[in-house]
């Protein structure tokens, strides 16, 4: 009987264009669109960076020591155009107007004497809203400084090693997979959870509030089927819709990588392939199942209580933020899955997924997260049943 209800509700739901949009079309398109946008923007930035010359304003003349060195900088450090100013106020104005991107003010002597080993003071003016300009200036100055320092050491006949007591090298022991998992791994479960919620939303409202509003629920309740069976049949469709939306998002990711080939870096591609293994997807869905039941169990009592589609929508839509917001913790690298976070719904799924991607998941914590979600899903079903069994809510 539950299956008959499930089958009918699924058929009804799949014929609803709104649900199809939220359940399949948008989730499938989201990854290709975002990734395409990201790749296009990043390509255009790279292209712009490669072709666009930044303008550097220098107070002084072309023959100054620093100006000469600046002019001689190798081209691999980026294209540049140097403009000379007689005073700093004009330079500052042009910097404000973005006519130049970096301003260099030489203070004190503009010459460096090899004999007295004097020091040149350079004040770098930049606009912090123009990203990367400070770094570019630092790169130029460091290059010039390194060259001059080397010359001075030669003149002084000093071995650089002797005045450098510690030579440090840094070795990253994290694998690329772990890096991606810990740093960017939060995005995948976030999108997965967000679509899981959105996927549940329309069917939950349509199958409960919608039926009440259209006067079909009363008829259904006069059939010799228990309310629990009706609830489970309907809830099954709500949960399936949420899972389908998540699966569609995953399909979109697959299309982006394998069909549209939006990931060009071969190393990154290898890592992504190793992450998206069948085991990972299976565990991800195992975690998503109780989470989606939990989502459905939160939405259904509201949908049962609401008198109209609009009322249900106006309560559930803001709930989306409350439910999906905890999923954002995945974006912060410092938060780890532990016994406390494993007990927080949504957060536990995100952190467990992140660890799964990174390959550092603890089986104990994974089981605890799953158990907590299962328990909450059970409570949510029970609350839904209590609501559905309340005669004043259903007609």
């Amino acid at each position: 009987m539950i299956f008959n209800i499930f089958k009918k509700e699924l058929k009804d739901t799949l014929r609803d264009k709104r649900t199809i949009m939220m359940m399949i079309v948008i989730p499938v398109l989201i990854f290709p669109v975002i990734m395409n946008l990201f790749v296009s923007v990043s390509h255009s930035f790279q292209k712009e960076a490669a072709t666009k010359a930044i303008k550097i304003g220098v107070v002084g003349t072309k023959n100054d020591f620093f100006s000469t060195k600046l002019e001689q900088l190798p081209s691999f450090l980026g294209k540049k155009e140097i403009l000379y100013y007689s005073d700093s106020s004009h330079l500052a104005k042009d910097l404000q107007k973005d006519s130049i991107q970096i301003g260099l003010l030489q203070q004190g002597s503009t010459e460096i004497s090899k004999e007295i080993f004097n020091q040149l003071n350079v004040n770098v003016l930049y606009n912090a809203t123009e990203l990367g300009m400070k770094e570019r200036a630092e790169e130029y100055i460091e290059y010039i400084e390194r060259e001059e320092k080397s010359k001075r050491l030669d003149l002084l006949q000093i071995d650089e090693q002797k005045i450098t007591p510690i030579k440090s090298t840094y070795t990253n022991i994290a694998s690329s997979k772990e890096m991606i998992g810990k740093l960017a791994g939060g995005i995948l479960p976030y999108i997965f959870i967000a679509f899981g919620f959105i996927g549940c939303m329309y069917p939950a409202i349509d199958l409960f509030t919608g039926e009440k509003e259209r006067g079909t629920l009363e008829t259904l309740l006069t059939t010799p089927v228990s309310r629990l069976k009706i609830l489970i049949g309907k809830m099954g469709v709500v949960v399936l819709s949420g899972l389908l939306a998540s699966l569609s998002a995953l399909a979109g990711l697959y299309l982006s990588i394998e069909v549209f080939q939006l990931v060009e870096d071969p190393e990154l591609l290898t890592v992504i392939h190793s992450i998206l293994s069948p085991t990972f997807i299976l565990v991800l869905f195992s975690l998503s199942l109780p989470l989606t039941i939990f989502f459905a169990g939160v939405m259904i009592p509201i949908a049962i209580y609401a008198k109209s589609f609009k009322e249900a929508q106006s309560i559930i839509t803001p709930l989306n933020i409350v439910m999906v917001l905890p999923a954002m913790v995945g974006f912060f690298p410092g938060i780890e899955l532990n016994t406390t976070t494993a007990c927080i719904p949504v957060v536990n799924v995100v952190l467990a997924t992140k660890d799964l991607i990174a390959g550092t998941v603890s089986p104990g914590l994974l089981i605890l997260s799953f158990g907590v979600m299962l328990l909450l899903a059970g409570i949510a079903v029970l609350i839904s049943y209590k609501r559905f069994d309340n005669e004043t809510n259903v007609v």
């Binding site: 014929r15 009363e218 005669e391």
Partner: protein
């Protein structure tokens, strides 16, 4: 057969409901000690002004609501104790009954037949008979959302009758329908009576009541004001017509808020 004895239904009022109803009472009594009997092969009419408790009574009969106290027997089954068993015997149709617009009549009828546990073979036989009777063959595979009100009403009737119920409950079945569409319902009630089924229906339209019913009950504010045969009602009439008599009975019981 339907038999209800000393039926009472109370609803707990929420703060908002108390405010809306302008009352300080914590409960509202929708049905207050009603008893009546509907016999097979007869049409029983439940009359009453708006808010009299007719719909609540019919919802208790159809087991959507549980009574606060009292007993309900449907075709020999205690409907309070065994609601699912009782529902197998009931066909329920209201004027506000909705249908699944995205399904076809065929899909809808088969779905409800499956909920009543009817075999596919029997469903096919009953469907064929009802489609013929209601002239539904031409639109059986069209989406319900695209059907006219009359066609939808036929689908509703077919849905109500697919499991061949012994007891049929109609709650203002012709409400909001035009005369032609309402005719389908009138015919259905007459046919059910001929077939020996137990029929109870609530209505505001006295011409329908006059045409169809054998026994009637008048309720208002949850209380039973009259319960007898139509013949007795007519014999005891102190006014010129049924509508006036209905108004008189209600008014005599010192109740002013009504409309028919």
């Amino acid at each position: 057969m339907i038999e209800i004895v000393d039926l009472r239904k109370e609803f707990t009022l929420s703060k908002q409901q108390k405010k809306e109803l302008n009352t300080s009472e914590n409960i509202a009594i929708a049905v207050d000690g009603i008893s009546f009997k509907c016999e097979p092969g007869k049409v029983f009419s439940l009359l009453g002004p708006n808010g009299a408790g007719k719909t609540t009574t019919l919802r208790i009969l159809s087991t959507i609501f549980k009574p606060t106290s009292g007993s309900v027997t449907i075709a020999g089954i205690d409907a309070v104790k065994y609601p699912e068993e009782a529902r197998k015997k009931i066909g329920f149709l209201t004027g506000s009954t909705g249908l699944y617009a995205r399904l076809t009549p065929n899909e809808l009828i088969e779905y409800f037949a499956s909920l009543y546990g009817i075999s596919k073979k029997e469903t096919a036989q009953r469907k064929e008979k009802l489609y013929e009777l209601l002239d539904m063959n031409d639109f059986q595979n069209k989406r319900i959302g695209k059907l006219s009100t009359g066609m939808k009403q036929k689908v509703s009737i077919c849905r109500t009758m697919i499991h061949d119920p012994e007891v049929i409950i109609f709650d203002e079945p012709t409400s909001g329908l035009d005369v032609i569409t309402a005719e389908n319902i009138i015919t259905l009630i007459s046919d059910c009576k001929k077939e020996g089924k137990t029929v109870i229906f609530s209505s505001h339209i006295m011409s329908e009541v006059d045409l169809l019913c054998d026994d009637l009950a008048i309720v208002h504010k949850g209380k039973l004001l009259f319960n007898n045969t139509m013949e007795a009602f007519k014999n005891e009439m102190q006014t010129e017509n049924l509508t006036s008599e209905f108004i008189r009975i209600v008014k005599e019981n010192n109740i002013n808020e009504f409309s028919i």
